[in-house]
């Protein structure tokens, strides 16, 4: 993991919507985009656009925090906490 990877991770974490997506995927792994959007609406009473959620998921994927698998022909998203642990070991731990 290099500085660019760390940048992607901390950028991905630097947004409340993306942190919430991480929280929800931890509680309930394996969600379609529709499911992520539905959970957001159910919890917050406000609908984020599908495009907005897609962009957030793209950033989480780029950081390696969200993995995509296929269930039939549906994209299913799950959390991969591996890069978070690496980021802790590589940098954050020095300051804890």
């Amino acid at each position: 993991m290099n500085d660019d990877d760390l940048d992607h991770i901390f950028k991905a974490l630097g947004d409340p919507t993306r942190r919430k997506i991480i929280d929800r995927l931890r509680e309930r792994p394996g969600q379609s985009l529709f499911e992520i959007c539905a959970l957001f609406f159910a919890e917050n009473g406000m609908a984020l656009s599908r495009q907005a959620i897609t962009q957030h998921i793209d950033m989480l994927q780029k950081a390696g925090l969200v993995r995509v698998e296929w269930s039939g022909r549906t994209r299913i998203h799950s959390l991969d906490p591996g890069p978070l642990r690496e980021a802790v070991d590589l940098w954050l731990r020095h300051h804890l």
Binding site: S32, L33, E35, A38, L39, F41, R73, T74
Partner: protein, 130 residues
């Protein structure tokens, strides 16, 4: 003005007939030959005079990419209501139906999303104040 029919675009009408009747439990209302295809509608046995569901051939060239894009993002083509979603989910799983979304609470509803084997995802919901 009344809504008497609504449709899902199915890849194969015969396959759809089997899935929507034998698996989901709807009853055939009309099955009228129309050249290569059929005017094929089903109704809920709980409401046989209610709105019909037309199992419409998805032969238009625009239909396939449209359907594929919805399926990729997990978006249902339409939605049906049940009284007890958890028992319906168990029943359908035992019949081999695959789900992209297991039972989940979302505000006033509890929902699942299943694959109709004809190119669509279908949402089932239960109103939670039932």
């Amino acid at each position: 003005m009344r809504i008497y029919v609504t449709s899902v675009l199915v890849d194969d009408q015969s396959k759809a007939l089997d899935f929507y009747t034998r698996v989901l439990g709807f009853k055939v209302k009309h099955d009228i030959p129309m050249g290569e295809h059929r005017w094929l509608t089903v109704v809920s046995p709980e409401n046989p005079e209610g709105t019909e569901l037309l199992l419409e051939p998805s032969e238009h060239p625009a239909a396939k990419p449209f359907k594929a894009a919805l399926v990729e993002d997990g978006i249902p083509a339409t939605s049906f209501q049940v009284d007890d979603i958890d028992s319906e989910y168990e029943r359908l799983v035992s019949l081999g139906v695959s789900f992209t979304q297991k039972p989940m609470d979302a505000g006033p509803v509890r929902m699942v999303v299943l694959d109709d084997t004809c190119g669509n995802l279908i949402q089932l919901i239960q109103m939670k104040d039932n």
